[in-house]
């Protein structure tokens, strides 16, 4: 009897190791997330808040109408052009950022993969370095760099390439550049790891069969690196869908993303219910995008490595 109890405990022993993290995730992630979902189903209070009487003159304000259950926030989101445009822009920006990030990251990752051991470490440090500084510092740095009287414009004018400064900052260009800068290190690391996981003898074998090094890359190394690169692509697109700091600091009102709209609704418009609903729509969007990509790419890859 006693031994059976200890045997049972033994079976669950490994879960004890998880318990601190589980505790953390349940109380600080899953709990608030559920609460957020609940809030998104409250009725909005209109534009008033902070305890000032509601538009109907009834007493009490607050950030939502307590005790209500409604999906009107979601319905409004999809009916209102304002929100729909923000959503389309968010997806558009995410796709642009993903394409640019992949185009920047793959060659870099391949170069790191091919580099000698010393150069490899140096390059990896270069890639990780920006991640060791604060995200805001990076974005403000870009703001200064791209300003009308920033280094880039000064250099271009000084070299006689342009006559007067071009507007770089607060454009789609600056938003994309900063977003790529923030995501690329992760993308590069994931692709580099994928490339290093490849069996080098496959390339040898290809060349032994008569493939030039370019052809060996095109027919062997590149296709075999795709599953790993696909993981990098998912990380990139999910991250890009949540773009917040870059459009906030380097964008303009036309370049608003859903993530920027959440605090705007919540704090400026004091509409907690709407803010929560948008937060949930971002999550769902990420989920849907991952699902679509999985369906497309999962059906394209019929082989597996051993």
């Amino acid at each position: 009897m006693f031994s059976r109890i200890s045997e049972r405990l033994g079976r669950y022993q490994k879960f004890f190791l998880l318990s601190p993290l589980l505790f953390f995730l349940i109380f600080f992630f899953a709990g608030p997330l559920l609460w957020l979902f609940r809030v998104s189903l409250y009725q909005s209070r209109g534009s008033s808040g902070f305890g000032i009487g509601g538009a109907d003159g009834k007493e009490g304000g607050g950030f939502y109408v307590e005790g209500t259950w409604t999906i009107e926030n979601y319905v409004r989101f999809f009916q209102d052009d304002y929100f729909r445009d923000i959503m389309f822009f968010t997806v558009e920006l995410a796709l642009i950022v993903t394409v640019v990030t992949m185009l920047v990251s793959y060659p870099m990752a391949y170069y790191i993969y091919k580099a000698g051991p010393k150069l490899k470490i140096f390059l990896l440090i270069i890639v990780i370095l920006p991640k060791l500084s604060n995200m805001l510092v990076l974005v403000y740095g870009l703001q200064i760099l791209m300003a009308n009287n920033g280094w880039i414009n000064k250099a271009l004018v000084g070299l006689g390439i342009i006559d007067e400064p071009i507007k770089l900052v607060y454009t789609l260009f600056s938003v994309v550049v900063s977003k790529v800068l923030l995501i690329a290190p992760y993308t590069i690391l994931v692709i580099t790891a994928a490339l290093h996981g490849l069996d080098k003898t496959l390339r040898d074998a290809a060349m032994g069969l008569g493939a030039s090094s370019t052809k060996a890359f095109a027919t062997i190394t590149f296709p075999l690196s795709l599953p790993g690169s696909y993981v990098a692509l998912l990380i990139t697109i999910v991250w890009a869908l949540g773009a917040f700091v870059s459009p906030l600091l380097l964008g303009n009102p036309d370049l608003t993303t859903l993530a920027v709209e959440v605090p705007r609704q919540t704090f400026e418009n004091v509409n907690w219910a709407m803010g929560s609903a948008i937060a949930f729509i971002i999550l769902s969007l990420m989920f849907v995008v991952v699902l679509i990509f999985n369906l497309i790419i999962g059906s394209a890859i019929k082989w597996r490595t051993e």
Partner: protein, 374 residues
């Protein structure tokens, strides 16, 4: 047919490979003749794989020459050499079907689709894998992968086939089957083949000729029979097959012949064809299956010693006796075929061990491990 009359396919001359201060391959030379199945064997780190990789073009020699059919290959890049290599890991392309894998080399050579299909079909039927052409490598067994790897290079009709421990990843049973299949296939296709392995049994079973390498040197080149029966160095004697080996000193006998004193009580008399000098140190080796045992006293005057059986190793088809020679230090190994399933002797038996002088291998220790180039 003597090898000299045959056409030389591969000529390796003074080949050397240095990795920093380490010399992996030391100035080796050998020829490979048309249709020949040559084995390069040796323990790991002896330089055999490096040699193979240099011939294939995967490593650059530090010095020396590699020629195939008279053409110097040193500066010919890997992809331009018409040499097929089968890797130990098979290196099949996991994202391509068997068909695409076998087709790969032909595609790189720009051969038309129709011709490609035909050749691939021929080769796949040769290795009996026609039905597997649409499978991916992950859906194949070890032996099938092995055959795809072979088909992939054979389809290109290379001047030379290089095999790097191709059977090492298979289990013992399959390895034995593949040994026969591979040898038959090699004979059927008639392709000149260089096979690298550390498995001496494989080499003895399959090779036309064997090159034994040790520490970057070639120690001996010869047919399996030659290398087994007349090893040129203690290392070769010990590496290929089981043996009982001793160190001894040469002594003149009253009748003018010479014998080797191994121990107080044990002398070995080699065949007179061995040229020995008095008081030379020599290495002596006798194969276990050439040693006979008897319970009777003194079977013959020479090449006979008495001992006590210390251990019996049962191996199914035969047993190996470990015998302590009475005078003490020497240890003899003798094997006995046991068609009846019963061994003739048991541990503790006192036996006479005897052998014929032509079965005594003796090597002067002054020229131990000297490199040969053939």
């Amino acid at each position: 047919m003597s090898t000299e009359e045959r056409k030389v396919v591969l000529e390796v001359k003074g080949l050397t490979k240095k990795f920093g201060n380490d010399i992996a391959v030391k100035n080796i030379s050998f020829n490979l003749y048309d249709g020949e199945f040559l084995f390069v064997i040796g323990p790991s780190g002896c330089g055999k794989t490096t040699t193979l990789r240099m011939i294939g073009g995967y490593e650059f020699p530090s010095s020396g020459e590699i020629s195939v059919r008279g053409q110097l290959l040193n500066n010919v890049p890997l992809e331009k050499r018409n040499i097929g290599m089968v890797f130990q890991s098979y290196a099949l392309f996991p994202h391509m079907t068997v068909q695409k894998n076998v087709e790969y080399g032909l595609r790189m050579r720009g051969i038309s689709k129709g011709a490609r299909r035909e050749k691939v079909a021929d080769v796949l039927s040769l290795v009996e894998l026609e039905e597997f052409s649409d499978r991916y490598p992950s859906q194949l067994s070890g032996g099938q992968k092995q055959r795809v790897a072979l088909a992939r290079v054979i389809v290109l009709e290379p001047d030379l086939l290089l095999l790097d421990e191709p059977l090492a990843n298979l289990d013992k049973r399959l390895r034995d089957t593949m040994r026969v299949e591979l040898k038959k296939l090699q004979e059927k296709v008639g392709i000149t083949t260089l096979y690298v392995t550390h498995d001496q049994e494989e080499a003895l079973a399959m090779a036309d000729r064997i090159v034994v390498m040790h520490d970057g040197n070639i120690l001996q080149v010869g047919s399996p029979k030659d290398v087994y029966n007349a090893p040129s160095s203690p290392f070769v004697a010990g590496f290929l097959g089981e043996t009982s080996s001793f160190h001894g000193t040469v002594r003149a006998c009253p009748d003018g012949t010479r014998e080797i004193v191994v121990d107080d009580d044990m002398t070995v008399k080699p065949s007179p064809t061995h040229l020995l000098n008095d008081s030379d140190s020599v290495f002596v080796s006798i194969r276990p299956e050439r040693i006979q045992l008897s319970k009777e006293k003194q079977i013959q005057e020479v090449n006979c010693t008495s001992g006590i059986i210390d251990f019996v190793s049962y191996l199914g088809s035969h047993v190996v006796y470990f015998i302590n020679v009475l005078s003490g230090r020497a240890l003899l190994k003798a094997s006995e075929a046991i068609p009846t399933g019963e061994a003739s002797f048991k541990v503790g038996d006192r036996v006479q061990a005897y052998w014929q002088e032509e079965n005594v291998v003796c090597i002067s220790e002054d020229r131990e491990d000297s490199a040969v180039n053939v």
